[in-house]
């Protein structure tokens, strides 16, 4: 449910992979194909001369070396910042609000006249909803563990419920029971957020005894 940039991840991985593939193929070609090695023997000095010419042309008066080094450093700084931003973008999207008060989609307490036009609004934090649902889940004996987190899904808060049933518990029973609890939470909070129920099996489950009583 996070906002990990999946397309960007795949694009960058693909580009880096292609570059590495090209480098590896070039190295092997230099080694194995004499024609490529001969071409490189003539092309490399020419490329070197071109770079030398560029360096002399970009060296300012009274300077020892070209200002391109500074430009290269600036470009590298920019690239590093972009890469750090890319790392920071992974797994983002958690939110601390379950039902934000205020304008659209908010919970409005009924006024004395009952027409819903009273002043004020109710905000439900994510922790409240998470703990209510988690407490209800942990009461069940067929679940070895549960965790609930709140994420921003397409602009609205959504719940991610991860439950770890004991060995042998049918997942469809767990799905129905968890959905029933979610509907109870809907009734209590008066909102109907998107909910993802993820039924998994962790190391804790593997070492617990299977549930023996149906």
């Amino acid at each position: 449910m996070n906002t990990t940039p999946r397309l960007l991840n795949r694009l960058v991985l693909g580009v880096v992979g292609l570059v590495l593939l090209a480098l590896g193929a070039a190295g092997l070609a230099l080694l194995a194909v004499p024609a490529v090695a001969a071409w490189w023997r003539t092309a490399a000095p020419r490329a070197g001369e071109a770079v030398d010419g560029l360096r002399t042309r970009t060296t300012l008066e009274g300077q020892a070396d070209t200002w391109l080094w500074i430009a290269l450093a600036a470009a590298l700084v920019f690239l590093i910042v972009m890469l750090v931003v890319w790392i920071a973008a992974q797994g983002r999207g958690r939110t601390g609000l379950f039902a934000p008060g205020g304008t659209s989609g908010a919970l409005r307490p009924r006024g004395e006249d009952g027409n819903g036009a009273a002043a004020g609004s109710v905000t439900i934090t994510a922790a409240a909803a998470e703990q209510a649902l988690k407490a209800a889940l942990l009461e069940r004996s067929d679940l070895a563990g549960a965790s609930v987190s709140t994420w921003q899904v397409r602009g609205v808060p959504g719940l991610r419920v991860r439950v770890y049933p004991r060995k042998g518990v049918p997942p469809y029973v767990v799905a129905v029971e968890v959905s029933r609890l979610v509907e109870a939470l809907d009734a209590v909070t008066g909102s109907r957020p998107p909910v993802l129920v993820s039924i998994g099996s962790g190391t804790r489950v593997r070492f617990t005894r299977p549930e023996r009583v149906d």
């Binding site: 449910m1 480098l23 959905s179 979610v182 909102s191 998107p194």
Partner: protein, 202 residues
Amino acid sequence: MSAGPLERTAPAPASTARLVRRELHSSRAVPSVVVAVLLIAGCLLLLFEAVLKAVGDEPFLLDVEAAAVWLGTLPSGVPASLLGAASSLLLVVGGLLLLLAVLPGRRARYTIPNGRTAVVVDAEVVASSLARRARVAAGVAPEQVLVTVGRSTVMVQVRPTSGVPVDAEAVRAAVADDLRRSSVEPGPRIAVVIAESGVIGQ
């Protein structure tokens, strides 16, 4: 059971489908972070050398000019075995990254249709539930049943207790019933294998 006003804010099926799709496929976050960290390390080294060059200092770890000259003389300046090995390594790593980018990266998970929530189940949980049903249907101990849940097949292996025959059809029916009740999507094919030799003392 839901009241009228609640229905208006029901999540659109499209958003639920998106949630499920994202849950069923890998996000490639871990390889992305690894690649980013390696790229940052390389960029930092180059940056350092570029700044040293700009201020006219001695190179620190990597002499950029010497490296460029070495690159120009490449097939001769380095042992052929080393160049070959390094190139092969680059090819393999590049190929792996390209596969990571292109392959769908499906996780071993299924989705169960539900009216209110989006539900995804790890294949391991499905296998555990099927193993229990198969064990009850075959009348054997838990250690005698092995269930493997693949993307399109469910493999049930039963080692019967010596002298007590196991009804393969009953096991298949039990497993099929459990799969039908959880209605996992996509629905897998069922294969039941009863071992030739039985076991004693389970």
